[in-house]
Symmetry: C2
Subunit: 367 residues, 2 copies
């Protein structure tokens, strides 16, 4: 098996601006070229575009307008999990010997068609994702005594972390502000929710044969796990995410890394409850104890979990999210995260998922 | 490197019917399960959906409704080249050790949004693909003396071959009927064009470790070539398809197969001129001689090229086309093509492309 690395990464400023999907994809690609030493268009064997907005043939539009003539070029869609699927796909092309260098670029507009699914609509009044977020929250509160205050710490922590992330678009909120934000359901308030936005992010992957051309500090993909099951609200147990547990198990086995060794992680906090459930299902904290754990992180200003602010703090441009998560962990492991830097981070993890954890991806990365 | 095979394949009846994209995907998946011995939902590690119609998260919808809980699940879009991209992606997942068995299912509705691209529209009056088809035709006529009659033989041959393809939806046309069909441009008539339709096709790929569970006659993927350049009408030379030449070169090198060894091929005849150009650019016939070659195929009832009828004879459901091409060559190499069978076919080729050969894929397959 080849060793495969993240050579470089970039993320554009997330916003609520009206920018075309093509412009978003091209600005991330341009930024990646500007910031990567020795990168020539001829180096790139694969261009994979991650988005929920199908304007047809976007990967070839990106390739042509960037002067790239790759072997492989297509778009990948798996809802919020699109970006991480694209990165695993790029990894596979390199591992299979069909590419040495792959560009993955993800983008989404704030009005992405991915926000409400056809199968959501088929549930009528129950169509918005906040309803499964609320089911999970109610179940977790009942079983483990999780409180509204625990949830508020997730949101306040991620909004606080995002203040040191120049690509995030949200502002700082105190615990009190979160807890007094508009109540949307019995269990969730406005500031418990991530918000759609406009943004893009790009990653350059390369095999160990060629990565040194582009960077002196490659970040290696050490473990990959993926699983698609059914939406977790269809399970009897509403407090675990089956696909995340399975994906984590695969990624830990492949990387021979244990949860206790993870120095820094970006995880999918579509709602505050998701961060708690994911922390537990990744084995980073014991089941039912994540609320207390996040309060401690906040109170000690520990940025280990969602240092860029996660989805709640940074915004959630669907097709870009998974790419931006991987970009953040690569940045952390390269030691380039400035005010967000987790000191001495050597081993990182990305967890991404979609549609109430119908599918999950877990990546373990290391220096 | 692992050996990777097509274990089984199926194609639904192409039509102009109003069938939902979900139904199309599910009916091909169901048919594949019915026709594949020992195939259990638990066997499938990857579900890749090929389509230009993004209804969001279709791969997970297919997985959930088929009782499959794969590791990998996403949709792939690369216009007409989507199906072949999906198959190369599935190959890569297996080669990378992330999957042993992959389901690729492609589908399109007759009203696919992939038919006219945003970048086509940006060309104003010149937006329809028939215009680049006409440019190629005029250039080929001028340079090589290709005639309207040569073109008519492509169409008549493919319509004739399609009469033995139970999934094709078109009827038989004589040379005279093709040559008197409605003139659409200076150089192309209605029956020089493939037509959009509704249909789906599925492929099961497996590593050599497990393929024997499903079939006694696996068909191996021996060579893969892919290239994305720019639309071939942007080149000075309007008589060659640069991306097809490059993809073929890769696929021949990987498989150590020469063009003269190809027993049977499915190639992308979006317009009649495409079949001539592709035959030449694959090296199956000398440049400029394809018109005469196709006349000979027709007159000797030789089904070697486009035995299922190609796109012109079968219909062109964009996301399904590449999958159906591979299905046909697998069927031929298994010796199951009945009245379409090319006797003794052991080595086959698929060439697919999109948008005036902006991108091409070439696969070499063998028993």
């Amino acid at each position: 098996m080849k060793k495969i690395a993240i050579a470089n990464h970039c993320t554009t400023k997330f916003s609520v601006d009206d920018i075309s999907i093509e412009s978003l994809l091209l600005s991330a690609t341009k930024l990646l070229f500007e910031q990567t030493k020795n990168l020539d268009q001829k180096d790139i064997d694969a261009v994979l575009v991650s988005t929920n907005e199908n304007k047809k043939y976007l990967s070839s539009v990106v390739a042509e307008m960037s002067g790239i003539t790759p072997r492989i070029s297509h778009s990948v869609e798996s809802l919020c999990n699109s970006g991480t699927n694209s990165i695993v796909s790029a990894y596979s092309y390199i591992q299979a010997g069909l590419a040495d260098v792959a560009l993955v670029v993800g983008a989404e507009r704030i009005n992405s068609p991915g926000q409400v699914l056809n199968w959501d609509v088929s549930r009528g009044e129950f169509k918005h994702p906040i309803f499964w977020g609320s089911m999970f929250t109610k179940a977790h509160k009942r079983k483990f005594g999780t409180t509204d205050e625990h949830l508020a710490y997730v949101s306040a922590k991620n909004h606080k972390n995002a203040q040191d992330n120049p690509t995030a678009y949200t502002k700082h909120y105190s615990i009190d502000e979160v807890m007094s934000s508009k109540r949307l359901t019995d269990d969730l308030r406005l500031l418990d929710c991530s918000r759609p936005c406009t943004g893009s992010s790009a990653i350059l992957l390369a095999s160990d044969d060629v990565v040194k051309k582009f960077t002196d500090s490659p970040v290696w993909i050490a473990g990959i796990g993926q699983k698609t099951t059914s939406a977790s609200f269809t399970k009897n147990d509403l407090v675990t995410l089956e696909s995340t547990i399975e994906a984590a198990s695969q990624a830990y086995a492949m990387s021979k890394i244990k949860p206790a060794q993870i120095d820094v992680a970006e995880i999918h906090d579509a709602f505050t409850i998701c961060e708690l459930m994911v922390l537990e299902d990744l084995g980073i904290v014991q089941k039912g104890h994540a609320g207390k754990y996040v309060m401690d992180l906040y109170n000690t200003n520990n940025k280990k979990i969602n240092p860029r602010g996660g989805l709640i703090g940074s915004g959630h441009p669907l097709g870009a999210t998974g790419v931006a998560q991987v970009a953040e962990i690569a940045c952390q492991l390269k030691g380039n995260a400035k005010k967000r830097q987790v000191d001495g981070a050597k081993i990182g993890l990305v967890q991404n998922m979609s549609a109430a954890a119908t599918s999950s991806t877990v990546l373990v990365m290391r220096t």
